[in-house]
C-alpha cells in the first residue's frame, strides 16, 4: 500500500485491496456472482409472477408508444410494433443501468466502510443483474418476433450475443464515471432521469435512424446508443445481418467508453469510500 500523495489535489490512492484494477476485479469474481444473485433474489422475492413483471412493464410502454406512433404521429414503418419491440428492451437495459449507477455506490457505502473490496464490483453487479434480465427479455422478444413477425427464424439472430456484449460494454463504461460523479455531486442523481428522457429522444429507439436528416446523422451517431439500437433493429426487426459500418462504430464506442470509464473510475474511486 502506498502513502497518500498530495491530498490537496483531492486525489487519493485507494489501498491495494480496494483498487478496481482488472486483476483485483478478476479476483473478486465469486463476490460479483453473489452480488448479482443477491440483486436478482431480492428483486423477485415473494413475487409470484416475478420476472414476468420486469417484462410486462416495458411491454406496456411499448404498447402505448406503438399506438401513438402508428396511429397519431405516423412513423412510416410497416409493423411498427415489431420495430419498436426489437430495440426497446436494449434501451430499457441501458437507461435502467445508468440510473442505477447514480446510487449504487451510496447503496454499498456501509459495506465498503467495513470490508475492503473493489468498488467496481458493485457497479459490475448492478450491470450484471440488469444484463441477466435483458437476456431473459430478449429470449421472449425473439420468440414473439419469430412467431408473429418473421414467421421463421432468421439466421441473423446469431449476431444478437455480440450486440448484447457491445451494449453491455458501452453501458458499463458510462456507468463508471456516472457513479463517481454522483458520489461527488448529488445533483447528478436528480439530473439523470431528465438526461435519460432526453437521451431517449436523441436515440433512434422509436424512430429509425434513416428518418434523421442526412446532415444530422453523423451527429446522432456520436451517441453510442444510436448505432447499437439500429443494429438491434436490423437484426431483430429486419432479420438481416448487422451492417459492418455500424458494427464498427458500435465497437469503437464500446472500447472507447469502457477504457475511458474504467480509467476515470480508478483515478477517482477513493472518493467512493470517504464521501459516499
Amino acid at each position: 500500500m502506498r502513502s497518500a500523495t498530495s491530498a490537496d489535489r483531492g486525489i487519493r490512492l485507494t489501498t491495494a485491496r480496494s483498487r478496481s484494477g482488472l486483476k483485483e476485479i478478476a479476483a473478486s469474481r465469486f463476490l460479483l456472482a453473489q452480488l448479482v444473485r443477491r440483486n436478482l433474489t431480492v428483486k423477485y422475492q415473494r413475487s409470484a409472477l416475478g420476472f414476468l413483471w420486469t417484462f410486462l412493464n416495458p411491454l406496456l410502454t411499448v404498447a402505448v408508444l406503438a399506438l401513438v406512433f402508428s396511429l397519431v404521429v405516423r412513423i412510416p414503418i410497416e409493423s411498427y410494433w415489431a420495430f419498436l419491440l426489437s430495440g426497446y428492451f436494449a434501451w430499457n437495459f441501458a437507461s435502467q443501468s445508468l440510473l442505477n449507477a447514480t446510487y449504487v455506490i451510496q447503496e454499498h457505502a456501509r459495506l465498503r466502510r467495513s470490508v475492503a473490496f473493489p468498488a467496481a464490483v458493485t457497479i459490475l453487479a448492478a450491470c450484471g443483474s440488469k444484463l441477466v434480465e435483458l437476456l431473459g427479455e430478449l429470449v421472449l422478444v425473439t420468440l414473439v418476433l419469430c412467431l408473429l413477425h418473421h414467421r421463421g427464424v432468421p439466421a441473423a439472430l446469431t449476431s444478437v450475443p455480440l450486440l448484447v456484449l457491445l451494449l453491455a460494454l458501452v453501458t458499463l463504461g458510462l456507468m463508471f464515471p456516472i457513479a463517481v460523479l454522483s458520489t461527488r455531486f448529488r445533483d447528478v442523481q436528480h439530473a439523470m432521469p431528465i438526461a435519460m428522457t432526453t437521451l431517449f429522444y436523441a436515440t433512434p429507439v422509436f424512430y429509425p435512424l434513416d428518418l434523421v436528416p442526412e446532415a444530422l446523422q453523423s451527429l446522432v451517431l456520436l451517441n453510442p446508443y444510436a448505432s447499437l439500437l439500429t443494429l438491434f433493429q436490423q437484426v431483430l426487426f429486419e432479420g438481416r445481418l448487422p451492417a459492418p459500418e455500424l458494427l464498427g462504430i458500435a465497437a469503437v464506442h464500446a472500447v472507447a467508453w469502457m477504457a475511458l470509464g474504467h480509467l476515470l473510475f480508478q483515478r477517482y474511486e477513493s472518493l467512493c469510500v470517504e464521501i459516499a
Binding site: M1, A4, A7, R38, V42, R113, A116, R186, D187, S270
Partner: protein, 251 residues
C-alpha cells in the same frame, strides 16, 4: 501513521457551487481539516492479541479500518502481511430481505471466502451461529444478537491471519459469547493475530496481552493489557471533578 479527514458535511459540493467558484475564480473554500488520528505508530507481531481502548470518538474504529485496508492514511503507511478479516460494522453486507443462509453465503463472499470452502463449510457456519429454524427466515426478522452471531460466525470461519473486531462481542447471550471467546482463543492458539476494539475492559484484560489506548486520536499508551486498562480506569473513574472527564470528549 496519520489519518486526516475533511469534515464530511462540507465536502460534497453541488454542481452550482463548483460552477460559481470556477466563474468567480475563487477557490472552493477549504474545509478545516479534522484529524481523526494523530501520529499513531504501531507494530503488531504475529500471534499477538491487541486491544484498542478509549472513549467514543477516540479513533479506534478508524484505526481498525486503516489496518483493514478500507481507509487510506493521509500520511504514513499501513503494512499488513497475510489475510485480513474484519467484522467492523455488524450486519454490513447482510441484506434484510435475504435469509440467514443466503446472507451467510453473501457475507462469506464479501469477506473473501472461496466458493468451494463456502459450499463445504456453510452448514458448519450456520450451526455455529445457532439460529435454529430461523436460518431460512429473512434477516430483517432477526434480533441484533442473531445478526451478530451470524456475522461473527461467517467471519470466524474465514481463518484469516489477522482478525479485526470492532466491539462486536457486546451482543449475544452468555453462551454465545463463551463460544465466540473459545473460537477466538483457538484462533490465537493457531498463531492468528487479533486486534479488537472494545469497551469491555474485563474482556480486554483477559483476552488480550497488549492494549493500545487512544483518546481523541492521540496515543495515550501501549503496553501490557492489565497495566493499560488500570491506567485507563484510573483516568476515567467517576470522581468529584466532572471537568476531568469532559476534557476527554472528542471534538
Amino acid at each position: 501513521m496519520l489519518k486526516r479527514f475533511a469534515s464530511h458535511d462540507t465536502h460534497t459540493t453541488s454542481l452550482r457551487e463548483a460552477f460559481i467558484h470556477a466563474l468567480t475564480g475563487r477557490r472552493a473554500s477549504r474545509p478545516k481539516p479534522h484529524f481523526v488520528l494523530h501520529e499513531v505508530d504501531l507494530e503488531v507481531h504475529r500471534g499477538e492479541a491487541l486491544a484498542l481502548i478509549g472513549s467514543n470518538g477516540a479513533g479506534k474504529s478508524t484505526l481498525l479500518r486503516l489496518i483493514g485496508g478500507v481507509f487510506v492514511p493521509t500520511a504514513g503507511t499501513v503494512r499488513t502481511s497475510g489475510r485480513v478479516a474484519a467484522v467492523l460494522e455488524l450486519g454490513a453486507g447482510l441484506h434484510p430481505e435475504l435469509t440467514g443462509a443466503e446472507n451467510a453465503r453473501l457475507y462469506g463472499a464479501v469477506l473473501g471466502l472461496e466458493r468451494a470452502v463456502l459450499r463445504s463449510r456453510l452448514p458448519e457456519i450456520l450451526a455455529f451461529a445457532d439460529l435454529g429454524d430461523f436460518v431460512h427466515t429473512p434477516v430483517k426478522y432477526y434480533s441484533s444478537g442473531m445478526v451478530a452471531r451470524l456475522a461473527f460466525s461467517v467471519a470466524s470461519f474465514l481463518e484469516p491471519d489477522i482478525l479485526l473486531l470492532d466491539e462486536v462481542l457486546a451482543v449475544g447471550d452468555e453462551d454465545f459469547r463463551q463460544r465466540c471467546l473459545d473460537r477466538i482463543e483457538g484462533f490465537l492458539e493457531s498463531g492468528g493475530t487479533l486486534v479488537v476494539a472494545s469497551h469491555d475492559l474485563q474482556l480486554v484484560a483477559s483476552l488480550c496481552r497488549l492494549a493500545l489506548w487512544l483518546e481523541s486520536g492521540r496515543f495515550q499508551g501501549l503496553g501490557a493489557a492489565t497495566e493499560i486498562v488500570a491506567r485507563y480506569e484510573a483516568r476515567h473513574r467517576p470522581g468529584p471533578e466532572p471537568e476531568a472527564r469532559a476534557g476527554e470528549a472528542s471534538p
